[in-house]
């Protein structure tokens, strides 16, 4: 039956972006060729190749680190207020070019334009504004002043090697670069292999902002390139966001060196709904927790813990709501759920979902038509899930929710914490005292109350246990880039 009110396609124009046929590495303020075999980045919604991307070998990475080392002398000697000027300028250019960046992000990543436009880009600019403000106030950040021999306090670390994931390409770049630069470090950043385009446009923005050459270097490539950045002997600080598996390898590489390391890894967050919760808003929070960004979110609320007394009512409401999710063209302004970022990720989501079914959990997706081309997975919920199911343990990193039940607040805490991860958690209840009690007991870096997936540059973010260590964002985010 035809719906009464069918939304006509409302595609954002892609004319606003000018994608070049090929991109080099950004080293010392110039685009240069890479020595490795170049690769293609594709639009995951259509599988159409977008551009040819250079691949950096360890020699190329060495050039980038040398450029960063050279620039470190100049950059770290600038007064904080001068560094701030550059960061404010970058933040403003990001705002001015927000539409272009948002469209490019959606093309390369597959995320809905509504999200890149309304969530990612405003947060990216906010991060640069926030850390620009800190650049001349580091002495007041609580890490002490530099001693007379120039040590401690506000002293930067040197060259930061940063490796970022494909789920929030530009936002993770901002999380990494903004605090590093504010503190006086220079960076060599490796964007993810499947989503390099906005980082390369950011390189152009650095030139537009007249940032001194070598302060920001961007080396594209696959795992080998990232490994070369991390292993380079002249890198003083390594920052990584990505899988726990790769995080372990990096920790091993860095062990025994004097490099500082921060890791922001996987998660299997519990979104806990009590019987006295505001149900309609809790349903929105569950949807936002797991279907936002196709579930490609390390802090996604992938385990729904619902109090047994309301499970039928809540699940009925959740399924009804999932039926209204609009899956499809990421550039359509009305799309809620976009494309899965890569064929490899899609295969992983499919595999884990099949395991969920074979282990006996009940699988459900709303009726939804998926495009023929590209990488797609429907919003999916598994009910009847136990802690012992694989889908309650392993990070799926896709639009797949596992529903478990609990009887008492203590049981909710126990189940929520019963995971090797500890990145985030959500609590839904109208009872304030219970929120405080739960937040105290949950072993997770971020605990959201009556909301989920809310970010702010002033709020630190990071994990417990296998979700990593170190904090990004806020005042604590400065610590990772200062010699304290």
């Amino acid at each position: 039956m035809m719906a009464i009110f069918e939304y006509a396609p409302a595609p954002e124009s892609r004319d606003v972006v000018d994608i070049k046929p090929s991109y080099g590495l950004f080293i010392n303020g110039e685009f240069t060729d890479g020595s490795g075999p170049s690769f293609k980045t594709v639009n995951p919604a259509t599988e159409e190749p977008l551009a040819e991307i250079a691949s950096a070998t360890s020699d190329d990475v060495d050039r980038a680190v040398q450029a960063a080392r050279k620039a470190f002398g100049v950059w770290s000697a600038l007064p904080g207020a001068e560094r701030a000027k550059y960061l404010f300028r970058i933040a403003r250019i990001i705002q001015e070019r927000a539409r272009e960046l948002a469209v490019l992000e959606s093309l390369d990543n597959g995320k809905p334009i509504r999200e890149s436009r309304d969530v990612d880009l405003p947060l990216v600019a906010a991060h640069f504004f926030y850390y620009a403000g800190w650049a001349d106030k580091l002495e007041y950040a609580g890490f002490g002043r530099r001693t007379t021999n120039g040590q401690g306090g506000t002293k930067p670390l040197g060259v930061a090697g940063q490796v970022i994931p494909w789920n929030f390409p530009l936002l993770m770049l901002a999380w990494k670069i903004a605090p590093a630069l504010a503190c006086g470090n220079t960076v060599v950043l490796k964007p993810a292999e499947t989503t390099p385009l906005t980082a390369l446009l950011f390189a152009e923005i650095c030139r537009q902002a007249d940032l001194p050459p070598g302060v920001v270097n961007i080396v594209t490539g696959a795992g080998d390139t990232g490994a070369a950045v991390v292993a380079h002997p002249d890198v003083n600080k390594v920052a990584f966001t990505g899988s726990t598996e790769v995080g372990r390898i990096i920790a091993r590489t860095v062990a025994g060196t004097d490099k500082k390391l921060t890791l922001e890894l996987g998660g299997k967050a519990a979104n806990i709904v009590f019987e006295d919760a505001a149900i309609d808003q809790a349903v929105e929070g569950i949807v936002n927790g797991i279907f936002f960004n196709q579930g490609h979110v390390c802090c996604a609320g992938s385990r729904l813990l619902v109090q047994e007394s309301i499970q039928d009512e809540l699940l009925a409401a959740l399924k009804r709501r999932m039926g209204t999710l609009r899956v499809g063209d990421p550039l359509d302004k009305n799309t809620d759920v976009g494309a899965i970022n890569s064929a490899a990720q899609l295969a992983k989501i499919r595999e884990l979902s099949e395991i969920g079914e074979s282990e006996g959990a009940e699988r459900w997706s709303p009726a939804c038509e998926l495009p023929d081309k590209g990488f797609w997975f429907p919003p999916t919920v598994f009910t009847g899930v136990a802690q012992s199911h694989t889908i309650a343990r392993d990070e799926i990193f896709g639009p797949v929710l596992s529903v478990l039940t609990f009887r008492t607040p203590a049981e909710a805490v126990e189940k929520a914490n019963n995971t090797p991860y500890g990145l985030s958690a959500g609590i839904w209840t109208e009872k304030g005292s219970r929120i405080l009690w739960m937040a105290d007991k949950l072993r997770a870096g971020v605990v959201w109350a009556n909301t989920f997936n809310k970010f702010d540059p002033a709020s630190p973010f990071g994990g417990y246990k296998e979700s990593g260590y170190g904090r990004e964002g806020g005042l604590l985010g400065l610590e990772a880039y200062l010699d304290v």
Binding site: I4, F5, A8, A10, D276, E430
Partner: protein, 324 residues
């Protein structure tokens, strides 16, 4: 739960499940029920309404939405200065808004002008709605409210827009509000009853949800946000919460109740945002003038202007659109 044959049945207590029928047995049971409804988180509700407000409705969808919105308008004049002449002029416009635009759903006037309006729209299919019950404050005796209603019905009103006693509601006397609605409903006879909650005075979203359920339990055919005399009037989050209420009420009882946001909806954009809320909250069953209305006056001309712009690609000046 009753079968669907009873959907829309006004004599609701008899059509209800036993547990809900007992809800109004006493002030205490009514209070316990209303306070047992799930709470509304203001931040989350505002955010949901804002997100739905970003839906991009273009081309064919916009054309469809504009005509749907026109057909849902309760074209309203509620001024102390209203006269028979003014009401007749508005009724003429309601029946034939301009060009090939559809007629509006209803005209809405004060009780003493119902006869004039009924005469003016006779045979057109446009309904006559009348505010009643000491509109807009509701500050009078039940006797006066009932005879106010009877007056309007006798004059030919198809629909009665009553106000609830907000003072009683805010002081916790839910039973008084309930009983007044029941009494007015009885005075309506065959006329449909819209119950105005005046959400701007109820202030909290929890109150909006409770008042919605209270009105539905008491037999409302429609729940309506506002009189238009209090600010804020119809806001997107309030309409959202009322749509959730009618959706949940039908799930619980099988009876469908309509929703009417009124006051403050002035532009086509506002109207379309409301339709998006209906579409994604209550769904298709409410996307008809029978179950969703927009109480407005200046909105109609903006809808007509956007309609023409969509058809011709050009805006015409305000002089090309008639006054009510």
């Amino acid at each position: 739960m009753e079968d669907t044959a009873l959907v829309g049945d006004a004599v609701m207590v008899s059509t209800m499940t036993t547990s809900l029928a007992d809800v109004a047995a006493s002030g205490a049971t009514l209070r316990a029920f209303l306070h047992g409804l799930p709470g509304v988180d203001r931040v989350g509700a505002d955010q949901r309404a804002a997100t739905l407000g970003t839906r991009s409705i273009k081309t064919t969808a916009k054309a469809k939405a504009i005509d749907l919105a026109i057909s849902m308008v309760d074209l309203t004049t509620l001024e102390g200065a209203d006269t028979a002449g003014k009401v007749r002029a508005m009724c003429t416009k309601a029946v034939r808004p301009g060009g090939d635009a559809p007629k509006v759903a209803a005209v809405c006037v004060y009780p003493d002008l119902v006869a004039v309006a009924a005469e003016a729209v006779r045979g057109s299919g446009v309904k006559v709605a009348s505010v009643a019950t000491a509109f807009p404050s509701g500050r009078s005796s039940l006797e006066v409210k009932v005879s106010d209603t009877a007056l309007a019905v006798a004059a030919g009103a198809d629909e009665i827009d009553m106000v609830i006693d907000r003072g009683a509601f805010l002081s916790g006397d839910y039973l008084k509000v309930f009983e007044e609605i029941v009494a007015v409903k009885a005075a309506c006879g065959d006329a449909h009853l819209k119950v105005i909650l005046e959400t701007g005075e109820l202030a909290t979203y929890d109150n909006v949800r409770r008042a919605s359920w209270l009105a539905m339990l008491a037999g409302a055919d429609f729940i309506k946000t506002s009189t238009g005399k209090v600010s804020p009037a119809a806001t997107l989050p309030v309409t959202l919460i009322m749509l959730e209420a009618v959706r949940d009420f039908r799930d619980a009882t099988g009876r469908q109740v309509g929703v009417k946001p009124a006051g403050g909806i002035r532009t086509t954009k506002d109207a379309i945002k409301h339709l998006v809320l209906v579409n994604e909250t209550a769904g298709d069953d409410w996307l008809t003038p029978e179950w969703f209305r927009l109480g407005a006056s200046s909105l109609l001309n903006d809808l007509l202007m956007q309609r023409q712009k969509l058809a011709t690609g050009r805006y015409a000046g305000p002089d090309y659109f008639t006054l009510d």
